[in-house]
């Protein structure tokens, strides 16, 4: 019963990414959207939260914020809105960490 976790807030602005990362089970997926994409910037203090997690990032939100793919931690998958839909379908349910 894998879950898709959505985080839409910057980890530097609140604790949603921290809570999500610490409660996720193995097999769960994390998708960073909107301001949540900042959490995937390598060398950022919050990047360590993503260690060992299956992480995707919404490409349009990265581009909007001027973050190029080479600025991200390794192993992150970039998806578009169609990929977002696929992630929802592939996981049993969605938890939005608002």
């Amino acid at each position: 019963m894998a879950m898709l976790h959505l985080v839409n807030k910057s980890p530097y602005d609140g604790s949603s990414l921290n809570t999500a990362a610490s409660i996720m089970k193995s097999g769960d997926k994390l998708l960073l959207i909107e301001d949540g994409v900042y959490g995937a910037i390598k060398n950022g203090k919050s990047a360590a939260l993503l260690n060992g997690l299956n992480v995707s990032v919404l490409g349009p939100d990265l581009a909007a914020r001027g973050i190029s793919e080479d600025r991200l931690v390794d192993g992150v998958t970039i998806v578009d809105y169609a990929g977002f839909v696929d992630l929802v379908e592939a996981n049993e349910k969605v938890q939005s960490w608002l």
């Binding site: 019963m1 879950m3 809570t19 610490s22 938890q95």
Partner: protein
């Protein structure tokens, strides 16, 4: 009962500073009529929703905290409060309302609705749900 789904209403925000706590409760109350397998989770700042002694007269808002005490009457008796969130915020179970329900299978014996769980246990509970509501 093959149509029954496990619904969890997740509360992570403090009351009064924003409307989410109250409007989330409104969904719970309406949802009770649909006879699904309901539980509520309180974590992060959501634990503040359950504190005793809320007096809202000075801020001119309706005090909706008595509604939590009524949940037992709606047969909602699985109220999970996350330990780590309480501790981080300097709270204990004694700071929260004592929420109860009456078990008609045991002669209406009064039982606690609040179940203190660890973050890991809450994660396990969330994994068992069919639908997760967030506000």
């Amino acid at each position: 009962m093959s149509d029954t789904k496990k619904f969890m209403y997740i509360n992570r925000k403090a009351p009064y500073g924003t409307i989410y706590a109250w409007e989330s409760l409104e969904v719970v109350l309406i949802g009770a009529a649909f006879e699904q397998d309901v539980s509520l989770a309180f974590l992060d700042d959501g634990v503040f929703q359950l504190t005793r002694g809320q007096d809202t007269r000075g801020i001119g808002m309706k005090n909706f905290s008595p509604t939590y005490a009524a949940l037992g009457d709606y047969e909602i008796n699985k109220i999970y409060v996350e330990k780590e969130s309480l501790e981080e915020r300097g709270l204990t179970l004694d700071d929260l309302q004592h929420l109860v329900w009456e078990d008609e299978d045991e002669d209406y014996a009064e039982k606690d609705s609040i179940r203190l769980v660890s973050r890991t246990e809450l994660g396990d509970l969330m994994a068992e749900q069919d639908v997760l509501f967030n506000f």
